[in-house]
């Protein structure tokens, strides 16, 4: 590893050059951006008067790829996403600083790479240079854009911000909750005295206040494993995801070519090539001709590694023809072809003839086809949901609905006066609703299973569902009825019935039913306001 010459330099100068170096400032910025991102995801559940207290989806709003795919798929410009144009303009002026300094997934990649080097499981210099495979991300971008144009939606599986939002929500926070709960239930077996117990309780408070506890997401382990794999791939190549897969990076790289700023060696350069060998993104800053400004994320690793301190960012667009042919356009077109094929491939063999009864979408969700074309699978709604009812779909919505939000009433229920998911959705897949609109928005219909419901099946008192039914007047009503008991004799009991027009499908009845495995009252999607076909009542 090339170390700096430490000649007789003054302390101030050393602080200036080594502590306040550009690479360290970049690290600081990455840590701050990651911390802000995590904080916003965690806090996005906080609401007051039906709106989020904190801009929980700020990073998603600044993602130009989401703007592009929403425009292509839904032919609509989401006002909040217009913020992301700032990133485009700044990238066109100054290059991909967003990837190097702001992107929270980029920060985690940097960290994973550093960890691999610390554990001596990887080395920065191994195979760090340019490779034909760098073009893969353009292929991904092409596929993402084309799939959006044809009404599919691949972006959520690859976009770094959507990916990380989903991972934090459905895998990392539940894992943290599980670990914390295990720790506390272990510690709860001991008595630490007045002071100790109070201190432990106080330590628990921010965790409890952040509403991380008792959350679970189906299939979260798969989402977590994908994330872990992406992290470990950094030991194979520095910034693996950024180099080969990231469609956002690919999109920004198209604009970065216009950039006015580039890394350039100065006259002290001895052509030792340390900069290119250490470049985490394969931009090869050492060669004036071969430097790929579109790959450079201005991480300043090259400047840090230069034994002569002969590298800095400078003005310059002089970009000679690259050493290898520019295949960007080819990759994009090839990807677009694949993306166009994606929808027919996953749709035709998997499309059910009728609507799936268990496919219950959150209130405000648009009609299924438009919902699928807008939803970017970021999971922001799942984090915002206070009852944990929103779950990443596995196959409930067909193959092309993988990881879209679906209501699962064994996890939670739709809280009557809550509109948080619609406030959290960055792309308008879930429309903004007012509380009054929400209370009237039907998302499904409850039905009694008379062979399981206690009063219906066994003549026992129950009606917990009626007690919890939130509509006014209640959709579940009770009648006093004389019933024959299975064990002989008869009794007068409260028998619950449903007035279908009043039911909004919130599912609290199914959630609180004492028959905990398959409830005696269950909600299916029929009657949902967003669909014209999925209806059963005469109008």
């Amino acid at each position: 590893m090339a170390r700096r010459k430490s000649d007789g330099r003054g302390l101030a100068e050393r602080i200036d050059r080594e502590i306040l170096s550009a690479a360290n400032l970049r690290r600081l910025s990455q840590v701050a951006a990651l911390a802000l991102f995590l904080l916003l995801v965690v806090l996005s559940i906080q609401q007051a008067g039906g709106v989020q207290v904190y801009p929980g989806t700020l990073f998603l709003d600044f993602d130009p790829l989401l703007l592009a795919v929403t425009y292509l798929s839904a032919h609509a410009l989401e006002p909040a996403l217009l913020l992301s144009l700032a990133v485009v303009v700044l990238t066109a002026l100054f290059g991909r600083f967003y990837c190097g300094w702001v992107c929270p997934l980029g920060a985690l990649q940097t960290f994973a790479g550093w960890l691999g080097r610390k554990l001596r499981l990887s080395s920065r210099e191994a195979r760090s240079g340019y490779s034909r495979l760098l073009g893969m991300k353009h292929f991904v971008l092409g596929a993402v854009l084309a799939s959006a144009l044809f009404g599919g939606q691949l972006v959520g599986y690859f976009d770094p911000i959507a990916l990380l939002t989903r991972t934090v929500t459905t895998a990392l926070l539940p894992a943290l909750a599980w670990a914390t709960d295990s720790l506390y239930s272990f510690l709860g077996r001991f008595d630490f005295g007045q002071v100790g117990n109070t201190a432990l309780g106080v330590l628990y408070l921010p965790y409890e206040g952040a509403e991380i506890a008792e959350r679970f997401h189906q299939g979260g382990v798969l989402i977590g494993v994908v994330f872990l794999a992406l992290m470990l791939l950094n030991w194979l190549r520095e910034r693996f995801f950024c180099r080969y897969l990231c469609p956002l990076g690919a999109l920004l790289s198209l604009f970065a070519r216009l950039g006015l700023v580039r890394m350039r060696p100065d006259e002290k350069c001895t052509s030792c090539d340390a900069c290119s060998r250490n470049c985490p993104t394969g931009a090869e800053p050492g060669s004036l001709e071969g430097f790929r400004v579109e790959e450079c994320v201005f991480c300043y690793t090259c400047a840090e590694r230069c034994p002569e301190e002969g590298l800095a960012a400078g003005l310059g667009r002089a970009r000679a023809a690259p050493a290898v042919p520019d295949r960007t356009r080819r990759d994009l077109v090839l990807g677009a072809a694949a993306g166009a094929l994606f929808l027919p491939l996953v749709k035709s063999p998997w499309r059910p003839k009728r609507v799936a009864p268990e496919l219950i979408r959150p209130p405000g969700a648009r009609a299924e086809q438009e919902f699928l074309s807008r939803c970017v699978r970021c999971g922001a709604c799942m984090r915002a949901c206070p009852t944990n009812v929103l779950q990443p779909a596995v196959l409930e919505g067909g193959l092309d609905g993988f990881w879209t939000p679906v209501m699962k009433y064994r996890f939670g229920y739709c809280l009557y006066g809550c509109t948080l998911c619609s406030a959290a959705c960055p792309t308008g897949a879930i429309e903004r609703l007012t509380v009054e609109e929400k209370k009237a928005r039907k998302i499904g219909q409850a039905f009694f299973d008379q062979s399981r419901c206690l009063p219906h099946a066994f003549g026992r008192e129950c009606t917990v569902c009626e007690e919890h039914c939130p509509t006014a007047p209640k959709a579940i009503v009770t009648r006093a009825e004389r019933v024959l008991l299975p064990e002989g004799g008869e009794a007068v009991i409260h028998v619950p019935e449903i007035v279908p027009e009043r039911c909004i499908g919130c599912g609290i009845c199914e959630n609180v039913c004492p028959i905990v495995d398959a409830a005696g009252v269950r909600v299916t999607s029929v009657g949902e306001a967003r669909s014209e076909e999925n209806q059963f009542l005469a109008r």
């Binding site: 509403e211 809280l415 007690e467 939130p470 209640k474 609180v512």
Partner: protein, 337 residues
């Protein structure tokens, strides 16, 4: 440490040794397996009343003398009414001793605003907290096992802010202790550890309609101190209400009938379901308090010779108290006869 192998071997021995001997060390540290919760002494709660002045009564009720549209009534009187009633009972000092931990159990079951009468009036709860603090309580905790998302319930009912303004502490039930039923040794209840750990408990319910039980009052309110699969209790709901009143008997019971939910209970959801009895009742006997509330806060539905819900008779049968509140010393103002 000479080699990696030696280090690993030593680490393994140390870890294994620590794990194997942990019960011994734990016993030295004084481990309490309080989750098992054997031998919880619940009696202290109703034996621990402090001496009261001779003029103190065991049941006090007050109705605002308001004519005209009830909705126009100023609920600012809530705190003052609460204070007057507790005063009539001999003051908070009768129930709370200096240094006590007090657990107040209002109805915070639903994420509804106070005007929908689904949750206890926040000013009443706030005043109880203030009085308990003034009586020297070291810690006043307020909590409920809400039916809907707890944080939303605490916030939307306005009880959270009112309690914090009064110097109390909102707590969420987290730990539950197994307690044997006083009636059937085969039955166990999971009871909120905060409720059990408190020196004194105050049940502060609101008068509400309930399709299955007729009404939900101070005794039914104790469902909020129970963990586990609470939904099964409905199958023998009157017996469960009475048994919980016997098991968890609060130091002081109060029913807020300033607003009462007359139908579509216990959630309500429309102002048209809300009536305004403008009354509060409190006392040491939960059965008497509930019976009084049934007579006077439900617009005559339980008036005269109308049958009271079965849980009242069950509670009498189990020896919780007496429905006939005139057996106790009482002071009821504003109720006509």
């Amino acid at each position: 440490m000479k080699s990696r192998r030696e280090f690993l071997r030593k680490s393994l021995w140390l870890t294994g040794g620590a794990a194997f001997t942990s019960p011994f060390w734990a016993s030295l540290l004084g481990v309490k397996r309080y989750r098992r919760g054997g031998g919880v002494r619940l009696e202290r709660r109703w034996d621990a009343l402090n001496p009261a002045p001779p003029e103190a009564v065991d049941l006090a009720a007050l109705r605002l003398p308001v004519a005209g549209p009830a909705a126009a009534a100023d609920f600012a009187a809530a705190a003052e009414m609460t204070r007057t009633i507790i005063e009539a009972l001999g003051g908070m000092g009768r129930f709370v001793s200096p240094g006590d931990t007090v657990y107040v159990k209002p109805n915070i079951g639903w994420a509804r605003r106070p005007e929908y009468a689904a949750t206890t009036n926040p000013d009443v709860v706030g005043e109880i907290v203030r009085l308990a603090k003034a009586a020297g309580a070291r810690d006043v905790q307020v909590g409920d096992r809400s039916c809907e998302e707890p944080r939303k319930c605490y916030e939307e009912s306005r009880i959270g802010p009112a309690v914090e303004a009064a110097g109390g502490r909102m707590v969420f039930p987290r730990e539950y202790v197994r307690v044997r039923s006083p009636l059937d040794p085969a039955r166990e209840w999971l009871v909120d550890a905060n409720y059990l750990a408190a020196d004194k408990v105050i049940s502060a319910a609101i008068a509400k309609h309930h399709a299955l039980t007729g009404a939900t009052l101070a005794m039914k309110n104790l469902f909020g101190a129970v963990g586990g699969e609470r939904s099964r209790l409905h199958q023998r709901v009157h017996e469960s209400i009475a048994e919980l009143a016997l098991l968890l008997r609060p130091t002081l019971c109060l029913v807020d009938g300033l607003r009462a939910l007359a139908s579509n209970g216990p959630q309500g959801g429309s102002l048209s379901y809300v009536e305004h009895p403008l009354a509060i009742v409190a006392g040491v006997d939960p059965v008497a308090v509930d019976a009084f509330a049934l007579r006077h806060m439900f617009g005559g539905r339980y008036g005269g010779s109308a049958a009271l819900p079965r849980f009242v008779a069950r509670a009498e049968e189990y020896g919780v108290g007496f429905a006939d509140w005139t057996r106790a010393k009482s002071r009821c103002e504003g109720f006509g006869g």
